[in-house]
Amino acid sequence: MEREMVERENPMGVEEPDPITSRSMSGALLIASLVLVGTLIWALYDEVYGRRPWKAMQREFVERYTAYLKRVKPRQATTEAALKQSPEYRKLEQELTAARQAVAPRLREIDRELAEIERQLEAIRPVFQDARAKIGALTYEWEVAGSERAKARKMREIEEAKRGPFRVRLIAADGEGKNEEWRLTFDELQRRFLALQERKAQLVSERARLLEPVVEIEKKMNQYLQDNLVGLDQKQIDGLLRKMETFKIELKQIHVQDGDLVDRCISCHVGILEPLPLTEQIMGRKAFVSHPNPALLRIHNPERFGCSPCHGGNGRATTNVVKAHGLNKHWLWPLYKPENYEAGCVQCHFRDRVLEGAEVFNLGRDLYELKGCVGCHRYEGYDRETDALLEVRKTIRQLNLERAENEREIRRALRAADQATDDREARRLYALAETLRVKNSQIADRLEQLELQAKYLMQDQKKVGPNLKEVRLKLRKEWIPVWIENPHAFRPTTKMPRFRLSREEVQAISAYLWQTALRDPLPTQPPGDPIRGRELFETRGCLACHSIGEGAQTIGGTFAANLSRVGEKVNYDYLVRWIHNPRERTRPYCPNERRDIGPEDYAKRGLPFRFDLNHSKCPSCGSEMQVQQMTVMPSLRLSWQEARDIASFLMTQRRSGVSYPPAPFMDDPKLRARGAQLIRRYGCAGCHEISGFEEEPKIGTELTREGSKPIEQLDFGLLAREAKRQGWYNHKGFIENKLRSPDIYDRGKLKAPEDRLRMPNPNLTEEEIRALTTFLIGSVNATLPPSYYYTPDDQRKDIQEGWWIIKKYNCMGCHTIMPGQRSVLSTLPRYQDPDWKDQLPPSLIGEGARVRPDWLARFLENPALSETNLERNGVREYLKARMPTFYFSPNEIRILVRFFEALSAQAQPYIEPKLEPITEMERALARQLFTSPAAPCLRCHMTGDPAHDQKATAPNFLIARERLKPGWTARWMIDPQAISPGTAMPSGLFRREGDRWVFAGPLPEAFKAYPGDHVDLLVRYMFQLTAEEQRRLLAGTRTASRARPSGMRLAVERPPSRRGGT
């Protein structure tokens, strides 16, 4: 067919041309060879430049850096020269000259003598060494000689050799004098050599001693230049310039064997480790900057940590920026964006709740807890109590099994022993039974501890949201559905997220909660004084956690709820009880029986309806119950009147004219089952206690390793293509968008309501989204070996653990714990006033060095430091802010005490240092100092006199002994401003005189002869102060000052005019 066609096309029958002769392949060949040559050139180019972009980078860096150094050098030279002209430097120079001149004559003598010794030594040394070697060899031969005769012969040889004579030729010192020659025996030679050596050592050390002051001044001069010269000096700059001259263009990398880490980032980022701060502005290229946080590099030495463990990216890739930064497809660890830098911390610092200096990390960690993410999503480290509780319960079960098994074994052994035929065998079996019995007693010890642990852990277990079993007592009924529908409309900053609920769903959930809630009666409360309540609210410390006011008017902390509209929703009687003690529960919950235990259960056993931390056993089954509200809110130990006043004030916090439609559906029993279904589906019990849902598991996915989940497992829904196009098809993009609008990946999908995404909207700010995203994308499967993890097991571990508790209860709302950190209270407008500054709770920096651990434990347990007088601060009664009772379990107290001890690097356990007992004479002296008008101690410190104590600004000396550590007390007295800047106690009370501290004011006569250290005396006096002695003191101040204002005479003993209690 085809042929036919061809033939038809060639009808003329023209002769076909011969393809070999008439066609040329040269065109094709030419093209092929051109392509070949092109490919070769391309390959060469690619080999040299294309795949090695760092070469050009390095060349460019050297050029720019050299130019910069050259530019800087003369400027640095001028400043250096100017510095050298400064009077201080000049003075040092003069001192140097003077010091040099002072030692010059002796130095010359020494140098002359040394030269002479060296001349002699040079002559003697070879001769002596030869001789010694020779004699050493002979001695060895004598030692190994076989016969007595041979030994004798050798001995003769040795003596012969020792006689010498050895010739030492001394070349004349000046080259002109006569050469000397000594002829010496070996002993003489040795003596002379050793004498010379010794003299030389003497002279050298004397020389060093002489030069000490000179060296000291030289050091000072260098230090002066270093201190005052910003940047590098000439020598250093020259060094850098030389480095640039000899710079080799090559692949540069950090290789860490441990972890098989290869990071070639420094091949392009050549300047990253330079000592000069290089900015983009200086270097003209962002890639050439030096590391902006050199302090961080000092902790994380790049030689060991490389770059990619913190920054992400692909450390081995060098061919282009996209690959090196790990932004190519399928690479799991892309370079973190600047806003997420601190994601790099999470991998190794997974145990840390707080990292000093890592603010985004810390905020992310905070939000995960505060916003209740933890209610649905497990994350290792959070929920410590629940996890530990499970573990403890498991161990208890195991130990009980082990104990039972031992019991059986004992019985078996005893039976066998009784019937044993052999005494030895019987003894062995009896011994075995005994061992097991003792083992069981050990198990009993452990079990006791574990049972306690279980109790404490239950006590420490908290929920993010309030207990919804009490809604009937607490809330206005109609408010509930309004709130559930959209919490942010009522309170924009609330931690309760907004669920996407239909009206029907809202009604069902409200109905369930309302119908299952407790109906116990609540005592009615008389009204309080809202004006006083407001004052209390503002000054007791409520604002450290809570905020009040709306919009720009908001003040206070973000840890707990904003109370601006609380009056619209809450029942006054309940609020009073809550403020008086938020941990007070209506009914205890028994996890074993899975129900709330009421008075009827107690009555069955004939017990009074009484439950608290000391009465926490279930009356029916005897197991530990939840006897407190699972809130972190502490008791401020307010009186009932104060609680009523504050509640009355809070009841005024409402918008006027807001009405809530009636909600009859809440009593509709038909809705109840549907409500339960929805509560389970939305995981409400993750944050709340809800009747029937006490043991619900978390409904969300675990996020501990979220950052390294394969991207395909993140469901972008229909947005995957769009995400790829817009460049956010990665973990960062997924999480950010999810946090912004949690239902975003349902968009465009047709789903049944129960299949829709459940995550509610947490209403986060962009900053909060950034922090949470940073935290979550950093939560990866570690790529590094465990040796990199920050999991210390020394005191730093105590610090790590302590932070979890500090953050759990928001201690930083009132206290400064980290240097540079400000408490929430200290930022409130009220505390800007100089008078109110003294009303701030104390800074806790150095708390571990300040107070005794046993005291601290007691204080944390009972901050009133009294069993009867609870409505006060135990230490600082004058503070209006109240240190609350947190009902810490002994577990948490231990963690906190260890935390503070560790922060101050205190040795544990604490052993009280012995103080020299105070003598009568010293007591009289100290008393005089305390009562002198020049000494202000008793003016500010509490004394037990109620009128005085109200205006006091410092604690009572009486508790010093049981509370303080003497070393810290002395340091505090000398310079309190160094320990707690801005504190009411002034520095400069003592001045240094020789090797002791002396009171800086006019001294009482008798004191002038006292040779001891005044600070030490006062510390000892304070630590041995008794109530009796203090009363004498107080009487003394009054008499002394009344009689003669500037009088320094000894206090006259008088009965105290006023005494605090009996």
Binding site: L34, E63, G284, T983, S987, P1045
Partner: protein
């Protein structure tokens, strides 16, 4: 011919291309070192002007209270009839108002005067109560009392310190490195003691005297914002242009009932929620 040329072109192109790629950007211009040029040191020209004026007070001034100094009998004895000094009004003129040039002098810098203003602790009160210094200028703090004092400035922008000064001790000489209006100074042992130090970057300030008058001399001609600051009545600003050798008169007027006290229990501005005041009043009844 055509054939022979092509590879050459290709090679040349590639060579050119590689050169292009290898070519570096020009090394960037030397970066700008500092921001704006620093202010020029001011040289007196003889054309300097003066601002004088008076601070008026309208309405009924608050009664001055007796200060209870019982806490320290030495003070009570030395100064038995001390009166509060936060508001002192004589014949409708307000004393202790700090008047200073708030803006208009940015282009100049001024050398720090060598004289050291004195802050005396006398009768357990600060003398004067209000004073101004230049940043870096030494302040000399002396004590004339036979009792112990401590000097505790509580600045916002300067370092805070708190130093003890026993009777008969050497003067404490200190300076504040940064401008700040005003720094309250207190004595923790005598809570009634209070002084205010205004720290400026220039020497042009005054404190209204008993008759409410003040005078700022030696001002370079120019346009200024003059601020008056009073511890209870807050700040007021006046604009004024001073010509060469000119003396300009300005007046400030404070009215009774405008006093504010940051941090006072009853009035915390941030907490005033208009909707709730009435409710609270009602609830109080």
């Amino acid at each position: 011919m055509r054939i022979g040329k092509s590879p050459l072109v290709l090679v040349l192109t590639l060579a050119a291309l590689s050169l292009q790629c290898g070519k570096k950007e020009e090394v960037g211009e030397a970066p700008k070192e500092e921001g704006a040029a620093p202010a020029v040191a001011y040289q007196p020209t003889g054309d300097e002007g003066t601002i004088t004026g008076v601070v008026n007070f309208t309405g009924q001034p608050p009664q001055r209270r007796r200060i209870q100094m019982d806490a320290d009998p030495v003070c009570a004895q030395k100064n038995p009839s001390a009166l509060s000094e936060d508001v002192i009004v004589n014949n409708g003129k307000l004393q202790n108002v700090f008047v200073y040039v708030k803006s208009g002098l940015e282009k100049y810098s001024f050398s720090v005067p060598s004289e050291e203003p004195v802050l005396d602790q006398n009768g357990c009160m600060y003398r004067p109560r209000v004073l101004g210094v230049m940043a870096g200028q030494n302040l000399k703090i002396i004590t004339s009392d036979p009792t112990n004092h401590n000097i505790h400035p509580t600045p916002k922008n300067n370092p805070e310190w708190n130093v003890n000064q026993p009777p008969g001790s050497e003067p404490i000489i200190r300076s504040f490195p940064r401008p700040e209006v005003m720094i309250p100074v207190k004595c923790n042992q005598h809570p009634w003691m209070r002084a205010y130090v205004g720290v400026l970057r220039h020497p042009f300030h005054a404190v209204s005297r008993e008759d409410g008058s003040f005078e700022i001399k030696g001002l370079p001609p120019g346009e200024y914002e003059i601020e008056a600051w009073h511890e209870r009545y807050g700040a007021q600003v006046a604009k004024v242009t001073v010509g060469a050798k000119e003396t300009k008169q300005i007046e400030f007027t404070y009215a009774a009932g405008q006093a504010y006290r940051p941090g006072s229990l009853r009035l915390m501005p941030a907490l005033v929620l208009p909707c709730c005041e009435k409710t609270m009043a009602r609830a109080a009844k």
